[in-house]
Amino acid sequence: MAEIDLRTVTGGDRPELRDVVQKDLHEDEILVNMGPQHPSTHGVLRVVLRLSGETIVDAYPDIGYLHRGVEKIAEGWTYPQFIPMTDRLDYVAAISNELTYVLGVEKLMGLEVPPRAAYIRVLMAELQRVASHLVWLGAFGGDMGALTVFLYCFREREKILDLFEMATGARLTYSYMRIGGVRNDLPPGFVEKTRDFIKLMRERLKEYDALFTGNRIFEARTKGIGPLSAEWAIALSAAGPTLRGSGVAYDVRRAEPYLVYDKLDFEVPVGKNGDTYDRYICRIKEMHESLKIIEQCLDALPDGEVMAKVPKVIKPPEGEIYAMTEAPRGATGVYIVSNGTGNPYRLHWRAPTFANLQLIPDTVRGFKIADAVMIMGSFDVVLGEVDR
């Protein structure tokens, strides 16, 4: 097969962002780069804003500043080697990523995890959800200038990280899930400590409520801001609380239960208007639900092994798989194509915030800069998984 000139395939004369944003610029409009170095884009997201006064005429998100080529890296690594890499995708919810990936590989291999491992996985994933939502809530408060909430949330998140550290040995990039189970059993004292934490967390959630929910300024800043209709949310592939805030009760834990979620009792909170406030309420309620799930897991935690019998060298049979889980930010998916060797032939990561970022132009149009910050904050963007 002849080498083709890639440049002719690309049609290298596609417009660049700079040309796109400067098209038909009205004379009293200004163009501003918001990001990649901006306090409230939560990473290296760049949004070019077209402003008239302080009102946003249009917004052009630009991503890729954190692109590491993870999907290409995966092709050169063995299946177990990629587990630590998944931690670095959505680094705020590393466990959820690991879970998605190992579920994918297990499905590909037809592997069954022991019940204890399944419960531990759910337990960890839900703890991670609380931790991740706390980061979001804190950052959301920070976007609004309420820096105190930020520190409160991180204070509580530290407790969860302590739990993770106890169980996995690390605080952020856990490398805990293994193909066939989890790396080690829960350490002694973990269950009690988790129960204490749940009690504490429920109290603290009330405090956050007092600071935000019902606060006149908070309501004025969030209610009716960045509304997203259910139809539009579905059409634009929104995910997670952003989708559910618009009233679509789509949760992978319900729609396609994995692990033991079908045995657990929890609710899928949904919003009504799809505005920033609804997305906030959804996440707050999700934290409550997660605490409920964690309690159930602790109660039902069976004895037994935490690792299934797996071959020394993992070589899934030829085939393909698309596994989804409900990560804190929404439905995370991994598409793995195996050609029977020890390395994935192709691995694609479906990141929930990648889809959510597409919503930015449609939701911020017509609002003020301050609103745009809140709206982007309410999508809970983590650029690590967007750019991959």
């Binding site: 944003v21 400067q22 004379e27 009293d28 200004i30 163009l31 501003v32 780069n33 918001m34 990001g35 990649p36 170095q37 901006h38 884009t41 760049r46 070019v48 008239s52 006064g53 302080e54 009102t55 003020k368």
Partner: protein
């Protein structure tokens, strides 16, 4: 008049403090010039055009309304000081003045001038 002398001294002293401070900094600080450092900050990207642009006309309307109300308050101050001497007549006179102003405010309100763009 003499009491204003102190105020003048204050003003001069304030300027001197700033000047001395900046002068000291000028003597003490290092200088490692680099053209990259002189870029205006626009979140790490190359800025789009110049920042000194035309703004929306509606910003200026705030200033106009402000002038109206600030002058109003200058009128009210002497009245307030002498309120007790002026009595009922003074009170109602000022009330009429305020009502006229409020009518202006309501007009601006209804015309949506008081909305930020």
């Amino acid at each position: 008049m003499l009491s204003w002398v102190n105020v003048a001294i204050f003003l001069i002293a304030g300027v001197v403090v700033v000047a001395v401070g900046l002068g000291m900094a000028w003597l003490l600080r290092p200088s490692y010039p680099d053209p990259k450092k002189l870029d205006p900050y626009e979140c790490g990207e190359v800025p789009f055009g110049d920042a000194q642009v035309r703004f929306n006309i509606r910003y200026y309307i705030f200033a106009l309304i402000f002038v109206v109300f600030d002058i109003e308050s200058v009128f009210i101050y002497p009245w307030a000081v002498l309120f007790r001497q002026l009595g009922v007549f003074g009170f109602f006179e000022m009330l009429v003045f305020l009502v006229i102003l409020v009518v202006g405010l309501v007009y601006a309100w209804k015309k949506k001038v008081l909305e930020w763009v």
